[in-house]
Amino acid sequence: MIEDLFPLLLTRYNYYMAVIIMMIGLYAMIAKSNLVKKIIGLNIFQTAIFLFYISIADVRGGTAPILIEGSNALYVNPVPHVLILTAIVVSVSTTAVALSLVIRIHREYRTVEEEDLMRMEGGSG
């Protein structure tokens, strides 16, 4: 049983790492009161997914997918890379929108702490 576990861990550690990083991000989003730290958490969360995608694209011994006439090289799968380029663009735009919201929240309430915000909102109705 235990002997089976090690190869399992070692051959699939990319998935475990992705999940661990994802959980770190999720923890930051839930536990941190500072809105900027929440955004950082969100970014860590998204990065974990990017790494997951990139790791599934890998082919052992594969090389960059550049087509050269006459060579029969083994290529890694380029599609997940392309998908992730798109997802990175989405993630950057999300971060931009989130940060601009934080700036406006700071202008309005002079704080970016969620606890303070909740107290203020609770006070005004």
Partner: protein, 494 residues
């Protein structure tokens, strides 16, 4: 021109977004007419597309002439076109409504930006409806969601900002889950085309990876559709957004989430999978039933009109998912019909709430005493919308509840039948209270804000929707002629 229609309906608002931005730079007054004409053009294109779909059944379009499954394919069938028409019709009315409505709620210098983002949102939801590629669906989902976050926080005051921020965090997490689900599917099959996925998945139905992917999809989509108990972002976002945005969110954005759910449940994974291999429908139906009751109960507890409507939306989304979850022809028809009904009724009611705020600044139900006399047309629209929400014939709300109830009987689910009836009573409770204040309580004399109805650009969309509540209720055969084959083809495997 005609063969490019599926992609044109997406491109028109994208071009429109930039034209209205440039037009707005030249003169702020140009932004609105450009946006309006754009959505009108898009609606016309969608109508032309409807004609084609009616003739050909399914319209396929290969983007950039790349053959599927390598290229992105746009597929328009009856379900797409039905949802597309609802979304564009409501966007058109919301756009018309916004002209006067945003005057008070959004700073003047931001109006150009408002219409630009409005059009981007429309482009996003249109893209979701026409695409046949699952990653493309994710990208459009994010385009429309990003636009929605921005619109929610575009009003004056800080509450909209905080609501927008929370919406953004929840929405992004849900999008990440969907992305993970797509990743698992790709890992398993190496394809992203929905039709192709449906073709290659059946031998893999017992795979754990597939089950993981499915769970990621369900959780992600449940957050987007605000299925109870993942609805927490919704009430604040609907309440603190500018009125026209609330109407847009509750009609257009929520429908796109439901559409994506139906598409992924039945067109990517099939009925065979969701019933036989991974019996999630039973669970979804129960969740939807809880959502219906909880949404209605929470709505009764609210004092703020828009917040009450927001909680009632949570319940209404439950109706649609309940219809989908019971997996039989009648219930499915009811659920899909309710997409149209909810869009029409809730759009009307949010516009009425916006009209009250526009004229008097009152948000609380207690303050709305005597509105029936002060704003007769607005209140009339409120009555029709409210009756339709309760489900009194001949309004349209009755028809979908009728089909849902028949579906529950056919499925032998007596609990769900009781839930549907009980929630009608509960919605009667909160809407009668509202109507009582509006019509039967005397308002104090000399209230500020003046009397009379709202300006015509706001009144007309409201009355159109109120009329639609009645017309679709009486001539229910028109939407049904479209929905029946849809429900049949979705349930094809059973």
């Amino acid at each position: 021109m005609m063969e490019h229609l599926p992609v044109l309906v997406v491109i028109i608002p994208l071009i429109g977004a930039y034209t209205s931005l440039v037009g707005g730079w030249v003169d702020r007054r140009y932004a609105f007419p450009i946006a309006f004409i754009n959505i009108l053009t898009q609606f016309t294109a969608a109508l032309l597309l409807t004609v084609r779909v009616m003739q050909e059944g399914v319209v396929r379009y290969n983007l950039g002439d790349w053959l599927p499954p390598w290229g992105i394919e746009y597929v328009v069938d009856r379900l797409n076109i039905y949802v597309l028409l609802i979304l564009l019709f409501l966007s058109l009315l919301c756009c018309a409504y916004s002209k006067r409505s945003i005057g008070m709620e959004i700073e003047e210098r931001k109006h150009t930006g408002f219409y630009t983002i409005f059009l981007l949102l429309v482009a996003g939801v249109t893209g979701i409806t026409v695409t046949g590629d699952i990653f493309n669906l994710y990208v459009f989902l994010e385009i429309s969601s990003l636009a929605a976050y921005t619109l929610v926080s575009s009003g004056r005051g800080g509450k909209g900002l905080v609501a927008g921020f929370n919406y953004l965090v929840m929405g992004s997490v849900s999008a990440c889950f969907i992305l993970l689900g797509i990743g698992h599917l790709y890992m398993l099959t190496g394809t992203l085309n929905m039709a192709d996925l449906a073709r290659v998945l059946p031998p893999l139905y017992t795979s754990t990876t597939l089950h993981t992917a499915f769970v990621f999809f369900i959780v992600g989509l449940s957050i987007k559709t605000a299925l109870f108990p993942l609805h927490l972002w919704l009430p604040d976002a609907y309440t603190h957004a500018p009125s026209t945005v609330s109407a847009l969110l509750s009609t257009v954005v929520s429908k796109m989430g439901v559409y994506a759910t139906i598409r992924i449940l039945f067109s990517v994974f099939t009925v065979e999978f969701v019933v036989g291999y991974f019996p999630v429908m039973e669970f979804l139906s129960w969740l939807a039933a809880i959502a219906i009751i909880a949404g209605s109960l929470l709505a009764i507890a609210q004092r703020d009109l828009k917040r009450m409507l927001a909680y009632s939306s949570v319940g209404q989304m439950g109706y649609i998912l309940l219809g989908v979850g019971m997996v039989n022809q009648l219930a499915m028809t009811g659920g899909i019909l309710h997409m149209l009904n909810h869009a029409v009724m809730k759009g009307c009611l949010f516009m009425v709430a916006g009209a009250f705020i526009f004229r008097t600044g009152f948000r609380r139900i207690d303050d709305l005493k005597g509105m029936g006399k002060r704003m007769p047309w607005t209140s009339a629209a409120l009555v029709i919308g409210a009756l339709s929400m309760i489900g009194i014939p001949p309004t349209v709300g009755f028809m979908s509840k009728w089909y849902l109830a028949l579906g529950a009987i056919e499925a032998g689910q007596w609990v769900f039948l009781a839930v549907i009836l009980a929630s009608s009573l509960l919605s009667a409770v909160y809407f009668w209270r509202l109507l009582e204040y509006v019509y039967f309580r005397e308002g104090e004399g000399g209230v500020e804000g003046g009397t009379g109805d709202v300006p015509l650009p706001m009144l007309i969309p409201m009355l159109v929707l109120a009329a639609a509540c009645l017309l679709f209720g009486i001539f229910v055969s028109i939407p049904l002629s479209l929905i029946d084959p849809v429900a049949e083809s979705l349930l094809g495997g059973v």
